[in-house]
């Protein structure tokens, strides 16, 4: 599936900000089954310093410093991305979850792909016994890893209410868990906390969903903003599999990966430190437009 992605993020401040530093993760990169045909990012006002790097998890990271006083800060990105379907998997044929736990702890890989980074608590995911106990209900002894994780995803989708007023960006997973409500970020954090509580590797993914559903299908939750879901590691043969608890879907060609990390804190699209300001207002606009394959060479809008 080919997509054109447009995203505009605009902050406006009550008072001029004299100096700001930001770390921006808003440009998708090549990944397994994902090709970036072209990408572009622009920032207003013009930054004084501009450095592009990759962070530990391979996400494209832009460091900027702005030292002109400003009340508006805008980041605009566009990208054309080709997403290939995930190979079909037989969940019942994945290794037992206890084996996956043992293999993750014994991993001899310290690169970004290693499950070892994703079995521990992380800045925004604290392990909580209530979440672990709840998750454990899907993990009977000897149950295949992927099958159990898919069941957990469905339980999350069925038992929780999507409610954007219930939580905000800094709501801890346990709080959303107790309310049985939240948005994609909360669902991802809860699922990750549950899996890690059992010693299982789970990563956080931020990205995009196709905005317009295929004809006759329902529009997915989270399509009008940046979306978030989970990847679980199912042993070296299967590797990482994306699961979207918000929509109870195995991730395939409807999802475009923007950044991967241990939790939201690792992938926050715009982080930063700025002097002054007071209140700030934020507007985000996202368009994810499917392009017909034969037109792949069409000019990028």
């Amino acid at each position: 599936m080919m997509y054109d992605i447009h995203q505009t993020t605009a902050y406006s401040y009550a008072h001029p900000v004299p100096v700001a530093r930001h770390v921006v993760r808003m440009v998708p990169v090549e990944r397994a089954r994902q090709r970036v045909i072209v990408s572009h990012i622009s920032v207003e006002p013009e930054p004084t310093e501009w450095t592009e790097t990759r962070d530990f998890f391979g996400n494209k990271t832009l460091h900027i410093r702005i030292d002109t006083p400003h009340t508006d800060f805008k980041v605009h990105t566009r990208a054309r991305v080709l997403v290939e379907p995930e190979p079909a998997r037989e969940p019942e044929a994945s290794p037992a979850w206890e084996e996956v736990r043992e293999m993750a702890a014994a991993s001899d890989d310290l690169t970004a792909a290693s499950p070892a980074h994703h079995i521990y608590p992380s800045p925004a995911v604290v392990l909580s016994p209530p979440i672990t106990d709840w998750a454990a209900q899907s993990f009977a002894a000897g149950r295949p890893m992927l099958a159990a994780a898919i069941e957990l995803m469905h339980r999350l989708h069925d038992e929780f209410t999507y409610d954007s007023r219930a939580t905000d960006v800094s709501t801890p997973a346990l709080e959303a868990f107790e309310m049985r409500a939240g948005v994609c970020q909360d669902f991802a954090h809860i699922m990750i906390a549950g899996l890690r509580g059992l010693g299982l590797p789970a990563a956080y993914v931020s990205g995009f969903l196709r905005t317009e559903p295929p004809p006759g299908e329902e529009r997915l939750q989270g399509a009008d903003a940046t979306h978030a879901w989970v990847m679980v590691w199912c042993g070296p043969e299967i590797g990482w599999q994306g699961l979207d608890p918000t929509n109870a879907l195995l991730v395939s060609t409807d999802h475009v990966v923007l950044a991967v990390g241990r939790d939201y804190a690792d992938v926050a699209p715009i982080g930063g430190v700025l002097l002054g300001s007071g209140r700030q207002k934020l507007d985000v606009a996202v368009d994810v437009i499917p392009i017909d394959m034969p037109d792949a060479s069409a000019p990028v809008v």
């Binding site: 804190a265 430190v273 700025l274």
Partner: protein, 838 residues
């Protein structure tokens, strides 16, 4: 000739008897090694000289010497801060006076072992932040690295500037029952204690001067010199600027940061002092941005940069990681160096020695099993009763090990079951460790020797000529007899460590180094934050003095039956009330009680305890720049405000005596400042604050006391408040009248209490401060000062009415704002916007 007539024999007998008496009742614990007494009950050879000296001194003299060591520490202002202390208090440094004595030969073996271990940890860090071959080869599971909160992913692939992650390594050691030294834990984040070790040495060496010399105790200065040279060498811009980065005065070991900065000649910096531009780190100073090339880091890595590390940190420097990455600054120890402290790593070091260094480790560490591995996990579960269980990483395990390690054998059934379950489900979080029995050393208690368990911390520094071990250490001695290492996490006392070398010791000190130093008269531009604190210290001290003068004058008037006394008292009370020093609803019946309240009550904003406390807090931030005597004076003032008010007795006498005493302490501080402080920017800001505050107070006094028709009584009060009575009487024979009094307290440029004198001083300071350029229009504060100077010349004393005084007062306050605007850091809220999700 019989031996009994030989005087030497008699002396030796006498000595032996005295030593025996000293040792009588010294009973090492069963099954525990003792440093002083060997297995046969005899004192070990390297302790005999110390024992003989103590025996010769006798109990009383030993007590006296040790008390003098305590006084030395107290005078030097050595304190430590206790987290969670309701009083936010600093406690006197608890020194265990007897040093731990270590024989030279044994020390050399320890040195070799520690240097080898420092090399190992450096090698492991370089590998894990680099190629990670140790993980790929299977020697170290990835999860042992990835689980550490100190594995800072933004640092992966970054070469440390200067080639090494570790500049200072420390190890905590204990001697086991088998007589071997064991590494109990590694310290690589930012080891603390070296500064305290130095203070302990100074205190003990002063208390037992001959002894330290005659025993050839190896000196510590060489270590610090090498450390300093090693760090200074990393300065590539050649400006010689090395900073010590501290989390600030609320940190437990802030005293040590300030002390080391002073001793090593580094500038003490907080995150707020620094800014990053184009990947170079600069200090904000009163003379603009100044490059800093090297930071000795006492701030935990994770807090160093809110942008790429912990976004909640308000102590760090946004952009620092990017600056490190591009080689713009050297940070020691490297950001992320805490990784190799993790207890989980200790399970692997014995094997890594071979792989990293090609040799076995001389110095063993406490046996450790990481429960992320199947075989190790089973072993720990099988032998739980013999082990200590710890969090595998530097992160507490909530609900299981909230306060650190637990002893397997001590667990109640419920807790034990919970820990066993945790080991089975998330074994990666837990290690089992052998329960170590520590050896004991003697402490001096109630005039005799008693054994107590201890842990020894030894420091190793990277220098130009390889690793150098500090010949001594920081020894923590337990207050209890429980020799299990795990129980020694907090509390206790600290002791000096004497390494006996047998050679006369060299006389290096950092202070008298000659021959190779260039002469420098300036110590570098003053950081803006320090200037800010000097300025406010000056203002608070002057405010305290003003308040005290008001109180002393008030109390003095209460008993006098002078004409118009009643009116003066009313005016003084009015002034004190408007400053918030005494309660608003003052019942006029007992003004003396209220004066006492203003001296002792901390619930009144303008009362002395609050002002002194504010002064102490600003001083705490610039402690490295104040002399120990100045700091001591402030501590005395704080203590004075805390003295209880006697229930009985004359409130008036007590209040008078208190304000008088406090005024003398303030005078002592002023004296120290004027006689002992270099006339550099720090002193200028201190004095600027004082002058502005005094100017404002003088305007207020004059307004309140000299209305349209002042009485002789109120004029006399004004003279007393401005400390100008004697001058007045020597100049005028007449009773006080308005114009001459105002001339003396406002316009007389030679009266150091007069407003004109303050304004001249302010002008002189502004002229001398950096950033004053001749060919540019003068900045606002200088224009304002010039206007103030002009008004002092433009009018007669008689022309200063309420309105004019009010205007002067307003201009002084505006001047204060202009100075702050120009020279200080502007504290506006820093915000982190990262809320973008659906």
């Amino acid at each position: 000739m019989g031996r009994r007539n030989d005087p030497r024999v008699r002396t030796r007998r006498f000595e032996e008897e005295a030593v025996d008496a000293l040792l009588a009742g010294y009973q090492p614990l069963p099954g525990v090694n003792d440093e002083l007494i060997d297995a046969d009950g005899r004192p070990r050879a390297h302790w005999t000289s110390l024992l003989a000296s103590l025996a010769e001194m006798g109990v009383d003299e030993v007590n006296r010497s040790f008390a003098s060591a305590d006084r030395q520490l107290y005078r030097s202002g050595v304190f430590y801060r206790v987290y969670g202390d309701p009083n936010g208090g600093e406690r006197p440094w608890p020194l265990s006076h007897l040093p731990l004595v270590i024989d030279g030969e044994e020390w050399r073996a320890l040195e070799r072992g520690l240097i080898q271990r420092a090399q190992l940890l450096e090698g492991v860090l370089a590998d894990l932040y680099g190629e990670a071959n140790l993980v790929r080869s299977g020697a170290l599971p990835a999860a042992v690295v990835a689980g550490s909160p100190e594995f800072l992913r933004p640092m992966v692939g970054v070469d440390p500037h200067g080639g090494s992650f570790l500049r200072i390594y420390a190890a905590d050691l204990g001697r086991g029952p088998d007589g071997r030294w064991w590494v109990l834990s590694d310290r690589t984040q930012s080891p603390s204690g070296a500064g305290y070790a130095l203070e302990n040495r100074i205190a003990i060496a002063r208390a037992l001067p001959e002894l330290a010399r005659s025993l050839n105790v190896v000196r510590l200065a060489g270590y610090f010199q090498a450390l300093r040279a090693g760090l200074t060498r990393l300065d590539r811009s050649g400006e010689g600027r090395v900073g010590l980065l501290t989390p600030g005065p609320l940190n437990e070991t802030y005293f040590e940061h300030a002390y080391l900065a002073r001793y090593l000649g580094f500038v003490l910096l907080e995150g707020e002092d620094l800014t990053v531009r184009d990947n170079v780190v600069y200090v904000r100073t009163v003379a603009g941005l100044k490059r800093v090339d090297v930071l000795l880091r006492r701030l935990d890595s994770d807090f160093c940069d809110p942008l790429e590390l912990n976004p909640r940190s308000r102590l760090g420097i946004p952009g620092l990681v990017q600056a490190i990455r591009s080689g713009g600054v050297a940070v020691a120890n490297g950001v992320g160096a805490g990784l190799v402290e993790a207890p989980a790593m200790m399970g692997f070091y014995p094997r890594l020695g071979g792989q990293v260094l090609g040799e076995d480790l001389d110095l063993p560490n406490v046996a450790t099993w990481w429960c992320g591995q199947k075989a190790e996990r089973e072993r720990v579960l099988d032998t739980l009763d013999d082990l200590v269980l710890s969090p595998a990483f530097q992160r507490p395990l909530r609900g299981l090990m909230d306060t650190g390690p637990v002893i397997g054998a001590d667990l109640d059934p419920k807790r034990r079951a919970a820990i066993e379950t945790a080991i089975r489900t998330r074994g990666v979080d837990i290690v089992g460790q052998e329960a170590v029995q520590l050896s004991t050393m003697p402490v001096w208690r109630n005039g005799r020797l008693e054994p107590r368990p201890f842990i020894l911390r030894i420091f190793v520094a990277a220098t130009e000529n390889g690793w150098k071990v500090m010949p001594g250490g920081f020894c923590r001695v337990s207050d209890s007899l429980d020799a299990r290492a795990v129980t020694m996490q907090s509390g206790g006392r600290s002791a000096d460590v004497w390494v006996l070398d047998g050679h006369p010791t060299d006389q290096i000190t950092l202070l008298t180094k000659t021959g190779q130093s260039e002469i420098r008269r300036q110590t570098g531009p003053l950081p803006s934050r320090a200037a800010d604190n000097f300025y406010w210290l000056g203002r608070y001290l002057e405010r305290a003095e003003t308040t005290l003068r008001l109180l002393r004058t008030l109390v003095g008037r209460l008993s006098s039956s002078a004409e118009g006394g009643e009116a003066s008292v009313t005016k003084l009370i009015g002034l004190l009330q408007s400053w918030g020093s005494i309660p608003e609803d003052l019942a006029r019946t007992r003004p003396a009680r209220h004066a006492l309240a203003a001296l002792t009550r901390s619930d009144l904003p303008g009362a002395l305890p609050n002002i002194i406390d504010a002064a102490r807090q600003t001083a705490a931030v610039i402690r490295d720049r104040l002399s120990p005597d100045a700091w001591r004076t402030l501590a005395d003032l704080v203590a004075m405000t805390q003295e209880p008010v006697p229930a009985a007795g004359s409130a008036q006498a007590d209040a008078y005596e208190r304000s008088d005493r406090a005024l003398r302490a303030l005078a002592a501080f002023s004296g120290l400042a004027s006689e002992n402080m270099n006339r550099l920017a720090g002193w200028r800001f201190l004095d600027l604050g004082r002058r502005i505050e005094r100017g404002i107070a003088t305007c207020r006094f004059a307004r309140a006391l000299v209305g349209e028709s002042p009485t002789a009584g109120t004029l006399d009060v004004l003279l007393e408040l401005c400390d100008s009575q004697i001058t007045y009487r020597s100049r005028y024979v007449m009773v006080e009248s308005r114009a001459p009094v105002l001339d003396l307290v406002l316009l007389d440029p030679v009266n150091p209490r007069a407003l004109a004198f303050q304004i001249d001083a302010i002008m002189a300071h502004l002229d001398a401060l950096p950033g004053h350029l001749g060919d540019e229009p003068p900045p606002p504060e200088e224009r304002l000062a010039a206007r103030l100077v002009a008004s002092m010349k433009a009018f007669d004393a008689g022309e200063f009415d309420d309105e004019r005084l009010r205007q002067l007062e307003g201009q002084l306050m505006e001047l204060s704002n202009d100075v702050a605007e120009r020279y200080f850091i502007h504290h506006s809220p820093v915000e982190t916007p990262w809320d973008l999700m659906a």
